[in-house]
């Protein structure tokens, strides 16, 4: 329980394009309000995981309560809600924003509006936020605050006349930000006497406390000892602790309307805590849950296999550990004729996939082979049944398919004019449909509809390389549409290698088939026999390459005495061979799987 009256509470998020200064500003706010002493401050408190820090993105939403004595003489409780910084976590972002009444829109005054700036603003507007534009980095000589101010008005349509000009780095005008929060954002509203309604914003696993849930109380009170119910899952738990973050966890007796804090309740896994769920009092439940709940559904899947088959158990345990803290990622056991035992894993997006893969390799020291990422197709059979397929291996035979739908995205790309041509070519090559093309200052803004399947391969990498790193990109899911898709099998000496099969649009099938065969030709070392690498649709071969046999390998001299030695050498070789992954007597190195899947050369 805090003593602050509800009208003195401000709940806010900071939204920004990557590197525009969100974390630096958060640090400054924490420091200025004295939530942490300077000694305790270590830069960028909020981003705690290594990978987050390295990539400068926030994966788990976190929060901090700040106490601020404003110019009006009153003390305000400012709850800063950190939001995941990437669109893969769009739903999580929307729930974090739903827990606040307003946002600080931080724009780098030397860069201007970028793709993520826009995407985040739209999320905030959908959440009904009051948005305070903040122009950061005005200490930089290259800063053009007036131009950026005009850009915000022109592109986003926000009134930026009272944008707060700051330098988060030097600490210039942090007071201005705090005052704007107090004077320009609305206080939360809520009925303390009504049945409890609290939004489940996020949850994570803490080694000491078990699962910790981040909540925003809308109505009623959340108390220690109270039996609460999660309205979507129906599960009930007794609250063990409630408290706030300052940013350390500080226990309180309860949390009232408008407040943001945490609870623990002997919950075993975060998978039991659905982001967006509504917590209510089990004995005095609310009739309606809060709006907007949506179970998180993976949109990109890939197979993960241990390079060393003996690591399968380790992989299983590592996935379980990751899942403890990230319920948005899914996994199920699968077997591949080519790769053995592994897991089919589902992710919220590509970045999510990359992060999980990286954490498995880095934190759990696993050597993995990942199969081509696949989106979720809706396959309609001729008998009227529909099934979702995210593994090319599960694609039914063409004869029983009536039609297939694939997911689309709407992508927003901002790019300096000189690279626009390359970007448009890239989008068109990927079956993109232009929705809009406008200018934001001297930068072009292209809005495209693209099949997600065209983006999952190496769209980011290509985007970066064709724009020399100057393009910014953001997307949102944009429904399903019928598509002429085919499954392409890769055959090595006539045997299909399941882990290399993929699904593509018919128009791209041949060129992709050729590209992958060509790449495999370079990646598979010459072996005893010449190797035929083919791409096929059904029974029809669309591309083929031949890897010639190794040129020569024979002992020059071999007489009587050598027999024993040669035989033993051979027997040892045979032993070693048994452990290799062979495909119809062809050894495909692990690296070939990864590299072969890259779509463009």
């Amino acid at each position: 329980m805090t003593d602050t009256p509800i009208e003195n509470i401000r709940n806010f998020a900071i939204i920004a394009h990557i590197d525009h200064g969100k974390s630096t500003l958060a640090d400054r706010l924490i420091e200025t309000t004295g939530a942490l002493s300077a000694r305790e401050m270590h830069a960028q408190v909020l981003d705690s995981m290594d990978i987050e820090r390295e990539r400068g993105i926030t994966i788990k939403a976190q929060t901090v309560r700040l106490s601020y004595l404003a110019k009006d003489g009153k003390t305000y409780e400012l709850n800063l809600m950190d939001t995941p910084g990437h669109v893969d976590f769009a739903y999580e972002v929307s729930r974090s924003l739903a827990a606040c009444e307003g946002s600080l829109l931080v724009v780098d005054a030397s860069q201007g509006v970028e793709a993520q700036t826009l995407a985040n603003v739209y999320h905030a507007l959908e959440a009904g936020h009051e948005i305070v534009p903040v122009l950061n980095k005005i200490d930089l000589p290259a800063a053009e605050p007036e131009q950026v101010r005009a850009q915000i008005e022109e592109v986003i349509g926000l009134d930026a006349s009272e944008a707060v000009m700051i330098s988060a780095k030097t600490g210039l005008n942090i007071e201005g930000v705090l005052e704007a929060l107090v004077t320009r954002l609305p206080a939360p509203t809520g009925d303390g006497a009504a049945p409890l309604k609290a939004l489940l914003v996020d949850s994570w696993y803490d080694a000491y406390l078990g699962v910790v849930i981040l909540v925003r109380v809308k109505d009623g009170r959340l108390k220690r000892g109270q039996k609460i119910r999660m309205m979507a899952t129906g599960a009930a738990h007794v609250v063990e602790q409630v408290g706030v973050f300052s940013p350390r966890m500080i226990p309180t007796d309860d949390l009232g309307p408008g407040e943001i804090g945490f609870l623990t309740a002997a919950i075993k896994t975060v998978a039991d805590c659905k982001v967006g769920d509504t917590l209510t009092d089990d004995r005095n439940p609310a009739t309606e849950p809060l709006p907007g709940f949506k179970p998180s559904v993976p949109v990109v899947w890939c197979g993960l296999y241990p390079v060393d088959a003996d690591d399968f158990e380790k992989l299983r345990d590592s996935l379980a550990k990751l899942r403890l803290n990230d319920a948005s990622f899914h996994y199920e056991a699968e077997t591949s004729a080519a790769l053995g035992f592994g897991y089919r894993c589902g992710f919220l997006g590509l970045l999510h996939l990359e992060i999980i893969q990286e954490r498995l390799t880095r934190e759990f020291a696993l050597d993995l082979i990942a199969t081509a990422p696949s989106v979720v197709y809706r396959v309609h059979r001729t008998n009227g049944a529909m099934e979702e397929v995210h593994n090319p291996a599960d694609m039914p035979d063409g004869s029983v398919i009536d039609h297939i739908e694939e997911p689309w995205i709407k992508a927003t790309i901002l790019v300096p004019d000189e690279h626009l041509g390359a970007i448009l070519t890239l989008c068109n090559d990927r079956r993109g449909q232009q929705v809009d093309l406008t200018y934001v200052g001297n930068r072009a803004m292209a809005v495209y509809r693209l099949p997600l399947n065209e983006v999952v391969f190496d769209f980011y990498d290509r985007l970066k390389s064709v724009s020399r790193g100057y393009a910014s990109f953001d997307y949102q899911m944009d429904g399903y549409a019928d598509s002429d898709l085919v499954k392409i099998s890769i055959l090595v000496n006539g045997d299909p290698v399941d882990a290399l099969s993929f699904i593509a649009h018919r128009s791209a099938a041949e060129s992709r088939g050729r590209a992958i065969c060509g790449r495999l030709k370079d990646l598979i070392p010459r072996q005893l026999f010449r190797i035929a690498v083919q791409a096929a649709i059904g029974g029809r071969v669309i591309a083929r390459e031949t890897i010639s046999a190794l040129a020569k390998d024979v002992t020059a001299k071999c007489y009587g005495g050598d027999i024993t030695r040669k035989r033993k050498l051979l027997e040892k070789q045979k032993e070693g061979k048994k452990r290799m992954r062979q495909f119809g007597k062809v050894e495909i190195p692990q690296s070939a799987f990864l590299a072969a899947l890259k779509m463009d050369a």
Binding site: A556, K557, G560, K585
Partner: protein, 383 residues
């Protein structure tokens, strides 16, 4: 009973060649020929006692450098062998000789002692290459040794080492043409191999020596076959070329997986008695070997019965080196298993389909494309 092949090892050389990993040793203070010859004689008696009387098809003096032996010693050993066993008519008796002038002087003596086939270690007909190979003789000495040998012995073969670092196909063709111009009816043409533990291996590890790439080696091998064929020499084994009937009978015994006895330091044998084939290896260090022989009559370091599967592998890894291949009936008789049981069926199928192997008339043989990759093929093919 199939005739026996007898190998006699003389483990000493004047200098150690940097590519050589044979059991050869240099003794600066000289070698006690009397002691070692006596020990060889004794071990031969010992071995004959174990093997029993048998027809003897060939004797081979290998090394090391057996041409450092005196003709008298060679004669004593041949005499001992032909007394202990029953030499077949026309028994082949080969001696390996180095073409230095010292040894060339003894050639007539070796012939008189009973040697009827000389295998001369020419290695190259190019002085720079001979220096690179660390040889103690010049190309001119090699030529004259060869010329002398041809007047003395009914059969002369010589060895060359090619695919040396930097050797072009044209250069090798030219050198080989000179060799063929002597009109030999047998040649051993070996591609240079970097053997572990040799001087060359150390140089290769330091990056100072690099063999030609596999493609170039294959091209050189191809060129070798063509040039030899133009002179009527057939590659009856991977590195051995002969006119029909001029093949080394002794070496054929190895490749056909016939019985052979080996005496002398580090010599190997394969001996069959009562359906069981035993592998025998003798003590390798010359002085330790001699001491053992002096004490016990023979210096066996290891002797073990080979399982049918092991015999199968050995017979195939030798037999597929031969152009004539492996006869299925003989394979089963020698190993106790069928050819099917010894081969991975799927690899066999691909190898037949891709023209690496041929199976016809009860014979399995490696075709040229298969022989070129025999080591990998065997590794995949043998069960």
């Amino acid at each position: 009973m199939e005739p026996l092949a007898l190998y006699i090892h003389w483990p000493f050389c004047l200098a150690k060649c940097p590519y050589c990993d044979f059991n050869s040793h240099v003794r600066e203070g000289g070698v006690d020929e009397g002691r070692f010859t006596a020990a060889l004689v004794r071990e031969m008696a010992f071995e004959a006692g174990r093997v029993g009387r048998r027809p003897l098809g060939s004797i081979f003096f290998g090394g090391g450098t057996p041409s450092l032996l005196s003709p008298a010693a060679v004669g004593r050993l041949i005499g001992e062998a032909t007394r202990r066993f029953d030499p077949v008519a026309g028994i082949e008796i080969t001696l390996e000789a180095n073409p230095t002038s010292v040894e060339a002087g003894r050639l007539a003596g070796f012939r008189a002692a009973g040697v009827n086939r000389l295998s001369l270690g020419v290695q190259s007909l190019d002085d720079a290459a001979l220096a690179f190979l660390g040889r103690r003789h010049s190309a001119a000495e090699a030529r004259s040794a060869l010329a002398t040998a041809r007047t003395i012995f009914p059969r002369v073969s010589f060895d060359l080492i090619y695919a040396r670092p930097g050797q072009s196909e044209a250069a090798w063709r030219a050198e080989l043409a000179q060799a063929l111009a002597f009109g030999p009816d047998h040649l051993s043409l070996y591609q240079l191999t970097i053997e572990p533990g040799t001087g060359f291996a150390a140089r290769a590890a330091r990056g100072e020596l690099r063999l030609p790439e596999a493609e170039a080696q294959a091209a050189l091998y191809q060129a070798t076959g063509e040039a030899a064929a133009a002179f009527g020499l057939r590659p009856y084994e991977v590195s051995n070329y002969a006119r029909a009937g001029a093949e080394s009978r002794h070496n054929l015994a190895y490749w056909r997986y016939a019985d052979y006895a080996g005496i002398g330091p580090g010599a190997h044998g394969r001996l069959t008695r009562g359906g069981e084939t035993r592998a025998v290896r003798r003590v390798r260090a010359p002085e330790a070997w001699a001491a053992r022989v002096e004490a016990e009559g023979g210096a066996i370091a290891e002797e073990s019965a080979l399982s049918p599967a092991e015999r199968g592998r050995e017979m195939l890894l030798m037999g597929l080196r031969l152009a004539e291949g492996v006869e299925e009936a003989r394979f089963s008789a020698r190993t106790g298993i069928t050819l099917e049981a010894a081969l991975e069926a799927d690899v066999l199928a691909i190898a037949l389909a891709q023209g690496y192997l041929e199976r016809a008339g009860g014979v399995l043989r490696a075709l040229p494309e298969g022989r070129l990759r025999l080591d990998s093929l065997l590794a995949a093919l043998l069960v």
